[in-house]
């Protein structure tokens, strides 16, 4: 288990988790627990950057963790702007870092055209 996960908590005991599931993050195979937030699974896997802003290309990650700030949005199963902190993880999800509102490839392609 990732050292970023709390193995046993003095008050909460052991966390009730769903099945261990596989998903991909930017093409890499990652595991997490079904039903936890995508953001929690990524955090446990050591991922900090969820997206880069459109104009200034600044990195963003989890900030509010309750679905309000939109800092944590990513491309999930091809759909952009998914708030990963409140979206439950499902087996086989394809999760990608979001560049502006696109995938890295699309962003680079459009970016190169302009320059």
């Amino acid at each position: 288990m990732s050292e970023k996960r709390i193995a046993e908590h003095p008050i909460l005991g052991e966390y009730q988790k769903g099945e261990l599931v596989h998903f991909t993050f930017d093409g890499k195979d990652v595991t997490g627990f079904e039903g936890e937030s995508i953001a929690a699974a990524l955090k446990a896997a050591g991922v900090m950057v969820h997206r880069y802003t459109a104009k200034e290309h600044k990195p963003r990650g989890i900030f509010c963790a309750i679905g309000r700030c939109t800092d944590c949005v990513m491309i999930v199963n091809g759909e952009p702007n998914v708030r990963t902190c409140i979206t439950p993880l499902v087996e086989g999800m394809v999760v990608e870092t979001q560049y502006g509102v696109e995938t890295k490839e699309a962003w680079e392609a459009s970016h190169n055209e302009k320059t």
Binding site: K4, H9, P10, C64
Partner: protein, 527 residues
Amino acid sequence: MKRHELIVIGAGPAGLSAAIEAKKSGMDVIVFDENSRPGGQLFKQIHKFFGSKEHHAKERGFKIGESLLAEAEELGVKVELNATVMGIYENKEVTVKMNGEVDHFKADKIIIATGAAENMIPFKGWNIPGVIGAGAAQAMMNLQGVKPGSKILMVGSGNVGLVVSFQLLQAGCEVAAVIDAAPRVGGYGVHAAKVARTGVPFYLSHTVIEAKGTDHVSGAVIAEVDSHFQPIPGTEKELDVDTICIAVGLSPMSQLASNAKCDMALIPQKGGNVALLSEYGETNIKGIYCAGDVAGIEEASSAMIQGRSVASHVCYSLGYITEEEFNTKYDSYQEALGKLRMGMFAPANKGRNDFTVTDEGYPISKNLLAKGYMTEEELENFPAYNYKKAGVHPIIECTQNIPCNPCQDACPKKCIKVGENITMLPQIDEEQGCIGCGLCVASCSGQAIFLMDETSDPDGVLISFPYEFLPLPEVGDKGTALSRSGAPVCEAVITDVKKTKVMDKTAVVTMRVPHEFKNSARFYKPV
């Protein structure tokens, strides 16, 4: 358009309590919450609450949430989740976004119980990954079981900052420091003291000026501030942290009330912009009410009573209860609220910093406000600390007038007395014989009660203290006794560990230390 007698917006402690009260009287009520689970902030709170029995004191927040939910379910209260209320329009029409679609509802009465939003402070690098809100830290560790970071700087010393710091320690994270731009700790002294004794330093009159790093936080620069809260050049200090947690206050989420064109006002004691309310919690628009943090930042315990109080007025105005029934209910809710709203942390005293003595006339600890822990000299002013007798007995380091009395209820021998007014300091009744059961230690929401026994063990003094960390020490373990500031004091041997069901996860650990350290050793670190 769907019709209901009452629409409650928000399924936190205020909203759920309101819905329960209304449903009990037979009203047709629906609750909307934008979250996927009900309970609002409650499920993130894992510490024992303050207050008295009627306020669920000594129960942990998430347990209170569970009982509220069970009550709501049993009554058949309808709670729509993932349902964001977008606006309130004329004639109490409400638009709700559910499953990507906008639905229209209409009600006779509306209770807004949307809670609060966290405040932010801008600083260089404040939006790089690794700078998070205190609520996010709580959600990650207490709901998802994932550590928000490994080394954390806590910005803010209010109750949220202090409680979340302690929770971070419980989750196995390191807290590098608690800082606050104000010159004094904002939250309860007992919350600060339990963090300080683990060794976390407090820097008051300090602010964060920069988050280091590009893709994630790799350090934090803090600096001292002057009396105008401006950083003083040359006082910068870099802390080795990977996470900066912001807990600089909450603001009422009152947008729905202002959109509905309720009369609003900026009231600092209430935490920001709030709707102006009648004594029954009604806005100037008849039939629209506010309850809980949205009406003024307080605590979950007061939010629950407010919810019930406001709902009882709704019941009365729709004819579900008589005027007499309403008056009885209203008076009892106001009395319960009144008890919580006394003492130096009362909402009316928010922002005040001119208290120098307690209600009893004892001088208030300056060190507690400046560093998060008390000095022995300061404690000596308090009788419940100074109490001495042969054999085991409590010593109480609770020195501010906070609304709290579980210590009094816990003692089977009635050794501890707070009295009618729950903000008075606990006193020790010397006539009663303490049996050393440790229930007061485990029940104290502020972890401020210790047991002392100077005579029963020839090899030293026995000191018992509350312990909520893992691994739990075992009898015979040797370690280091820590002082109130977390500094190593002497060697300690564990002589007893009590952990029973009524203690509810707070173990009472006893260590033996040499006599000369009886007034300084208050915590334990395994070697």
